[in-house]
């Protein structure tokens, strides 16, 4: 439908889609899911946060499928253009290894950020170059404002925001069902950020398409996170995955191995 429009207009449409759907529509969706969760708390085996987490993730998975359908209709891209049909078993197995490697790199980069934050000049107990000293009470306040004081605090923060849905879902649902819900959700994300975006904007060449895809994918991660520090983990993960998957999709146009890699990344992060 809009596939033949000028590239700049297509870029604007793609850029607008991310906040409109991933922020505004999903906010409405999550509000509705939470209301339903309150009704279901009559089932006393699970608490509200568990039911809410499962319902929010399930609702997100279903709405993602609808969003992909709408996006395909809007862009006018045929299904063949997003390369969902490549099911080479060797590539699927290698997709698992790619996902594990991405998780390792993302975890390593997060550790670098954490270490940099814990050792930056000016932290309480670590005065800045001017040698200023804060009184004890002020130090404690700065610690609260300046984020966690140790790695354990950072790891505790990483379980918040939308990641909570995934943790709760894996905790509560039978594992095959939890993995299926997760796979539908992240599969749709791969379809949007690799399949559709690369098909829709790919005429501009690899650097431009990759940059747009990575920026939008990273931006999407910070929605529904409580703070920038909590969002750091998914944003770093998305940066690693966005670059690796973008380059891989450009070299080997096949979406299923990337979906497998994405699901593996999540399972490795959550399990």
């Amino acid at each position: 439908m809009t596939a033949h429009w000028p590239w700049a207009v297509r870029l604007a449409l793609a850029t607008a889609f991310v906040p409109v759907y991933y922020w505004w529509c999903k906010r409405l969706l999550f509000t509705g899911a939470r209301r339903w969760a309150h009704r279901f708390t009559k089932d006393r085996r699970y608490d509200r946060s568990e039911i809410g987490g499962v319902m929010e993730l399930s609702a997100a998975a279903v709405s993602h499928v609808l969003a992909v359908a709408v996006l395909l209709w809007l862009t006018g891209l045929p299904l063949s253009a997003i390369h969902l049909d490549s099911l080479d078993p060797v590539l699927l197995v290698l997709g698992v290894l790619v996902g594990i490697g991405e998780m390792g790199i993302a975890s390593f980069l997060c550790r670098l950020v954490i270490e940099a934050s814990l050792h930056r000049p000016g932290r309480p107990g670590r005065p800045g170059r001017r040698g200023s000293r804060l009184p004890a009470a002020a130090s404690a306040g700065t610690a609260r404002l300046g984020g966690p004081r140790d790695v354990g605090g950072w790891i505790a923060m990483s379980r918040g925001g939308w990641l909570r849905h995934h943790f709760k879902t894996v905790e509560v649902l039978p594992l095959p069902l939890a993995v299926t819900v997760m796979a539908v959700q992240v599969g749709c994300e791969e379809t949007v950020f690799r399949g559709v975006l690369f098909g829709y904007l790919g005429s501009a060449g690899l650097p431009a398409t990759l940059a747009v895809s990575v920026v939008l994918f990273v931006l999407m991660q910070c929605f529904f996170m409580g703070s920038w520090r909590a969002a750091m983990f998914p944003m770093v993960g998305a940066l690693v995955m966005g670059i690796a998957h973008g380059l891989l999709f450009w070299a080997v146009p096949a979406l299923p191995p990337l979906i497998v890699a994405h699901v593996t990344f999540f399972l490795f992060a959550v399990l």
């Binding site: 608490d47 390792g104 975890s107 891989l248």
Partner: protein, 290 residues
């Protein structure tokens, strides 16, 4: 600047690819991607595997790290061919080993200098900052939170929740200095395997692009990545490991073989083991003294 391993090695790799393993271009691309990502993060992956799933079974860090690097090296040989790892020109034999040992001594000196310099800075900082401050770790607050339960529900109600590895794991998902207080054999094995992974696999992958700029960026990336992989022991150790990384990379590029770098690393690790042992003995004597 034109960076390359010796032509013989590159040639060997191509032959292996062309006739040894019949990989399609797509499979090769994915294999390289997986190999690069896992190799670059091998220490982090080993720490995660151990912390989440193996620590509660009594498995220590070092065996996990060594096993993972062995698998990655084998995968590297399968994907890239043995050139630069198991084979190479003969001339680096004696000369390369001697150069490796000399580089090892240089690394011992530079590592010690950087470590002493950073320790001096840390002492000065401690003196300036004084001791202690009101502190309440954030994790304590998070652990004290309880989920909101439905009215009338008791905590014991309902089915069991799955206890996930990330929840079971204790610690920072990183190796500690204690994990490296092991026998000399382990430290020498780690030295060789780290060289095989960083210089044997990653460096060779960094040298594959046709563009010189990309090659230089790749080599610098591998050098920095190796130093940064020691972040778990603090920024001072990252800085202290830069000379080892630079010298080992240079030795590999000059000799076309990873063995000189392996000797450098082994000499350094042997020194570290000797120093740790001496410190331990000194500490025990101090403890035993009346």
């Amino acid at each position: 600047m034109h960076l390359t391993l010796t032509p013989e090695i590159t040639h060997t790799s191509e032959i292996t690819f062309a006739s040894g393993i019949g990989l399609t271009p797509d499979t090769r691309t994915y294999m390289w991607a997986a190999l690069a990502l896992c190799s670059a993060s091998c220490l982090t992956l080993a720490a995660h595997l151990r912390t989440r799933w193996l620590a509660h079974r009594g498995v220590r860090f070092m065996p996990v790290h060594v096993c993972l690097m062995t698998v990655l090296t084998a995968a590297g040989i399968a994907a890239l061919g043995p050139g630069g790892i198991a084979t190479g020109p003969l001339w680096p034999g004696a000369a390369g080993l001697a150069a490796g040992a000399a580089c090892g001594l240089l690394v011992i000196w530079s590592d010690g200098a950087v470590t002493r310099w950073s320790a001096g800075r840390a002492r000065a900082r401690t003196t300036t900052a004084g001791r202690g401050s009101a502190r309440r770790p954030q994790e304590a607050r998070v652990r004290s939170m309880r989920p909101v339960r439905a009215p009338g529900a008791s905590p014991g109600d309902g089915p069991r929740r799955r206890v996930m590895g990330i929840a079971k794991g204790r610690g920072g998902y990183v190796p500690t200095a204690e994990d490296y207080r092991v026998g000399l054999g382990w430290l020498l094995a780690v030295a060789v395997l780290e060289e095989l992974v960083f210089r044997g696999v990653l460096l060779r992958m960094a040298l594959r692009p046709g563009h010189d700029g990309l090659r230089v960026a790749g080599v610098v990336g591998v050098v920095v990545m190796f130093a940064l992989s020691h972040i778990f022991f603090g920024w001072a150790q990252v800085l202290a490991k830069l000379p080892l990384s630079v010298l080992a990379t240079t030795a590999t590029l000059i000799t076309g073989s990873v063995w000189a770098a392996a000797v450098t690393h082994m000499v350094f690790n042997a020194y570290v083991w000797r120093r740790q042992t001496a410190l331990r003995i000194g500490y025990r004597r101090k403890e035993a003294a009346p």
